[in-house]
Amino acid sequence: MSAPATPETGDLLYSDVEDDLRASVRALVEKQAPWDAVLRRTDTDDAVDTDLWKRLTQEIGVAGLAVPEERGGAGASWREVAVVAEELGRAVAPVPFLGTAVATALLLGTAEDELLASVAGGERTAVLVVGATRGAGRPVPVVERQGAGDLLAGTVTAVVDAVTADVLLVPVSATEIAVVEAGADGGGDGVTRTTSESLDMTRRLTDVTFDGAPARIVTGADVDHALQVGAAVLASEQLGLAERCLADTVAYLRDRHQFGRQLASYQALKHRLADLWVAITQARAVARYAARCAADGSPDLPVAAAVAQTHCSEVALLAAEDGLQLHGGIGFTWEHPAHLFLKRARADALVLGSADHHRTVLADLVDLPA
């Protein structure tokens, strides 16, 4: 047993192209989905902002960034995907970006070029049908195939971004995926989707039941790899959310006076924000590293994704919880955005595996056995 080798770090900065992409996404999201609009939507049945999603995919092409041009994408990389995730996390935007990223990572390993191209172009959305808390490194439960035909039977609970997905990618064995057309109205042949209220109001969970749903079986998909890429993307979402919480809190404390002084002048609060800022600089470094490992096909991706998820989950939650606390009573009200971030951060800390799960995975990867 020995200390792990040190992989090359690679570029952890943002490129000019990434800065431009960020600016485009932010401008669109701030116009189309400011927080009060996001909040209002949570009281409706339209959990997903399909209009925003359409513009993000068609005007900016966010769904095709990691897909090579020859397969219908933009030929950028997971680094650019991560930048978009930061911005969407900042806005808790209710669009199926995370699910699309995971599905894209999965499809890239298959020969499903037509499906991949349509997902990349935003014409269709696809989603990997596994439970929300499932992280890489554990066997994925599979759905049963009925008889000789390719008909599915079984239920997968708590699936992220399945509300509006056109295509369901369902693990049916360790190496095979069943592709199921979910139907435009959300209920294809033999598929029932039930979306319930979720702690994170801006990303509701769906139970998917198959009862003789016809499917096409595809090989070459690496579910664990897709979940690792998803973890890297999610880490960037958490980073964006944490930065937003810090920025909002700093602004509030500068504005608010108690006892004749700016709240921001109280040293105990200053130090808490300083610690949060330090944690966020770290979140940025680990999220960037995970994204660059995904982008470059680095063999260190499993470590990078686990480190990023462990760290960013805790930082985002800290930022959201401290942010709410430092807003005082107003942060506890429905009509203030703090709870949108809190709920997303609390849920994100479990989505794609908890910090506890990722530490357990790391123990094996870096030779620190139990």
């Binding site: 949570t42 009281d43 439970g131 929300a132 808390t133 609970t157 708590a158 319930s196 209220e197 979720s198 702690l199 994170d200 109001m201 969970l205 006076h257 108690q258 006892f259 004749g260 002084r261 700016q262 109280y266 105990a268 609060l269 919880e321 709410l324 606390q325 005082g328 009573g329 107003i330 942060g331 506890f332 009200t333 429905w334 009509e335 703090a338 709870h339 809190l342 709920k343 609390r346 849920a347 800390a349 479990l350 989505v351 908890s354 506890d356 799960h357 530490r359 357990t360 139990a370």
Partner: protein, 411 residues
Amino acid sequence: MTTTEQDGRAPLRSVSDSPPDAAALARRVEEFLAEHDPAGTDAADFLRARFAAGLAWVHYPAGLGGLGAENGLQTAVDAAFARAGAPENRPRLNVIGLGMAAPTILRFGDDAQKQRWLPSLWTGEDIWCQLFSEPGAGSDLAGVGTSAVWDGDAWVLNGQKVWTSMAHHARWGIILARTDPEAVKHRGLSYFVVDMTAPGVEVRGLRQITGEAEFNEVFLTDVRVPDDQRLGEVGQGWAVAQYTLMNERVAIGGGTLPRESGAVGALAARWREHPEARTPGLHDRVLRLWVRTEAARLTAERLGQQQAAGQPGPEGSGVKITYAGLNQECSSLELELRGEDGLRYPDYTERRPEVEDYGSRDAGWRYLRFRANSIEGGTTEILRNVVAERVLGLPAEARADKDVPWKDLPR
């Protein structure tokens, strides 16, 4: 106003000159129960009679629900009534009235005010609320801006209050308002009792992050309040409010608190019931929270023993800080133990919550509701100041609001 048979209240019983001791109180309760069968008496009548008999709060003066007895003797009286199946006086709904308004009225009210408000308060016929916090004055309560202007025959109140529990049930509210904006902020305040049914009082539910509206916003628009509804002198409002808040402290009784009560209970139960969710990392965290909760429990017990022994300690602030943190951390870890289940939520629809029994609520609801524990009733940050300054004697925070008229303060 005096108590008469006409308004349904029993006549005042003549009391002996020296206050009764425990044994004498026990006898009086026995006699009272013999005269008023709890099963056969209308609840309201029973409670009015109990008040009139001085067995409501025995340490209050005779004629005001008490017998001038020692403070500690109430517990045994309440227990005796409870054993006999006596009706309750809506103690949870009227927690503000019983815990905060009543002692303030007793201390600052004149005889007429005491006679007017205390009987129906104690019986639970009238629910009370407290109109203190404002959107611009939370931790810094002395900064309230709701104005009270004298207009010939009454004070005219205008402003907005917030975080008002029970306002939608309340008949009366105690309110802190600014009668002199030219004065330094602590000195320009006065304290009134507002009729919550008066014209210009509007109560709106304030939706919170759980989806429910547990608290209220109260808007006051040209609400006329007669001068005989003022408690304390004009300009003395801050002192009166301080007295009210002093009574806010949760009384910690002398009995033994249950081990594993509070938020750790649900966490431990989940742990025991779901072996499939256990991991070594989570185990360590559950045990850490269990130990911290047990330490908090014993600390609260020790505080109770100190208070009972007449050594009131300042540990109360520490206990509140601790329980707020434990509630938050335990419920958060419980969500983690629940995994997928922890990501679901029953219902965010806006509504009024029925009960306050947190144990029966969903884990996600508790996680959200407990966020307020470190804000309501004194933020954790303010309480740390209190401990640092009042207990450890460290210098007070610099203030810029001591010598400036309220109207000139930055807001």
